[in-house]
Amino acid sequence: MKDREGGKLIVKIKHVMSITVVLAGFLLWYAAVQAAEPAVILNVSYDPTRELYQEFNAAFAKYWQKEKSQAVVVKQSHAGSSKQARAVIDGLDADVVTLALAYDVDAIAKVRLLPSDWQKRLPHNSSPYTSTIVFLVRKGNPKGIRDWDDLVKPGVAIIPANPKTSGAARWAYLSAWGYALKKYGNDDSKAKEFIGKFYANVPVLDSGARGATTTFVERGIGDVLVGWENEAYLALKELGAGKFEIVTPSISILAEPTVSLVDKVVKRKGTEVVAQAYLQYLYSDEGQEIAAKHFYRPRTEAVAAKYAGQFAKVNLFTIDDVFGGWQKAQQTHFADGGVFDEIYKPNK
């Protein structure tokens, strides 16, 4: 009896020991995996830039290895632009942010993670590439959509994203508003009426640009997707050119996605130099070429000239000219109780 008890105890001890060994091994392995990584920076970005930064990060790592012989890994995080800004404010350790619009970076500046004059620190308003808002329609353009006017006709189903959460959707809204202002001679109430008709034609509002694209392209809802030019070209490339067509309106907004260092984070992590170089490399020839390849409009003249044939000519206006900047546009149109809330009533 005693022997059996002793044997059982030994078996028990063996069990405990083997579990401990497995546990310790697991933790060691996890620690080793963590430790083996080189200088790491985190780029917190918005939805449609996934493919762009995948290629750009590899190019930058190569460049940095050659210049400074230091290995660098750039981690990526993607979601709707405002959601990402919120995450950085709540403590997501972004070394750099590359967001859809300046307002979202301003929000981060408000909690003093970066200085309020951040937009002056890099060339072209800290916007290394631009884009605009275009229409993606189904093959053959069955509803005959040519310009903004055609969108507000009865029976046309428009798929934009939700301007409350999506950068692209805010650009699209402002773009339509700018068109209406021009058409009706700067009459705000006429523009509001136009936008009202626009959103009356919207069957569903996705929270992000990529969600809107999948709604239109994969779920087959709606007649026209109103969104990023780069996103429209990517959809064409990824999902078959035969199924969709891009329609460029007569005028549209110059969408300036902006980038910034997050000063407080890089200072704490000691990654200021490499993060700064990362953003500057976006303005290099290689960075600009990669942006152009992913259908963002490049900023530097040489690269812009080289890829000029890729983009349709379109009259572009800026948010500063027509709306007096993001802060003002946000206050009037997208804040709680703003114009968008007045206009948009779901399930009409």
């Binding site: 996934r50 990526q76 709540d90 350790d93 909690v111 999902l239």
Partner: protein, 302 residues
């Protein structure tokens, strides 16, 4: 004699005597059930695998052999590895306290354990952002001491623990309550120490229910999307769990990889179901064993 005996033939008789529907109705009902399950469960599940293998075996395997996918799998395993044992220990302790003792606030404790099932996962994530986020209650203190909770491993583990708290405890509480404390009291009277009583009396009595709870808890821990999505920060190769990785891949027009990773999660579900079925059968057997009229079966499962 009890009115219902759980043996093969009496079981059948009992069933027949209660079934008064014609065989046509019975068949229609069964067909309807199968049709419904085929439409809403089996076809979607088959579609996951069909999509996953669309690009061939090489593409399927390739979906797992990149750094981000491996990191997501590793993270998911690690999170479950921490969350499940913690909840198992907590579940046993809580069920023990609730079933064997009387104390003030017992009902509140029971309600609290159920709470994660009642709140939306988004809330489960947001409470941790409110607590530990940079703008949250403890945020400034954590930042000062360079401790990362949300948008890092601890936050993901915390959110997972929160949503999986009820599984083990809920499984054990009714069982331990119905078992009462007679056997434990007998063990103590016979001179057993507290630990001996637990390992030799309580644990054997609850082991199958415990395992059942652990299996469900694990399935939820690995599959949780909402709460984890809020606290993850979506950093590839760092804070993306498998369910989050599936969403990312799908949004990148990478359907084959998305469904390949999804098929792995589906396999996990199937394994869970199989394990659940086995454990369920084991859970039922002690009832038969305890029946003195059936001495033959009593020997077989001891």
């Amino acid at each position: 004699m009890k009115p219902i005996r759980v043996t093969a033939d009496t079981d059948l008789q009992w069933k027949d005597s209660l079934t008064t529907e014609s065989s046509l109705v019975r068949r229609l009902l069964i067909a309807a059930a199968f049709f419904y399950l085929t439409l809403f469960l089996f076809i979607p599940l088959a579609a996951v695998f069909a999509e996953a293998f669309k690009g061939g075996m090489a593409a399927y395997v390739g979906s797992f052999l990149n750094e981000d996918a491996l990191a997501a799998i590793r993270l998911t395993l690690l999170v479950a590895f921490v969350a499940v044992p913690l909840n198992a220990v907590f579940g046993v302790a809580a069920a023990w306290a609730i079933a064997k003792f009387d104390f003030v606030g017992k009902q509140i404790l029971v309600t609290l354990i159920d709470m994660p099932l009642a709140v939306s996962p988004v809330i489960s994530g947001l409470i941790y952002v409110l607590l530990f986020g940079a703008q949250g209650w403890l945020g400034p203190w954590l930042a000062e001491h360079d401790i990362k909770i949300i948008f890092a491993l601890p936050g993901i583990v915390l959110a997972t623990i929160f949503v999986t708290v009820p599984f083990v405890a809920r499984e054990l509480i009714p069982l331990m309550q119905s078992q009462g404390r007679d056997e434990e009291e007998a063990a103590i009277t016979l001179g057993a120490s507290g630990w001996q009583m637990f390992t030799r009396v309580t644990l054997p009595n609850i082991k199958w229910s415990l395992l059942y709870g652990v299996i469900l808890c694990n399935a939820r821990a690995m599959g949780e999307f909402g709460a984890v999505s809020v606290v993850s920060g979506h950093i590839r190769g760092l804070t993306n769990t498998m369910p989050l990785h599936v969403e990312i891949l799908y949004n990148e027009y990478n359907a084959v990889s998305a469904f390949a990773v999804a098929s792995l999660l589906t396999l996990l579900a199937i394994v869970t179901l199989a394990a659940k079925a086995v454990v369920e059968r084991k859970m039922l057997s002690p009832i038969i064993v305890a029946d003195p009229v059936l001495p033959v079966q009593a020997g077989s499962s001891r």
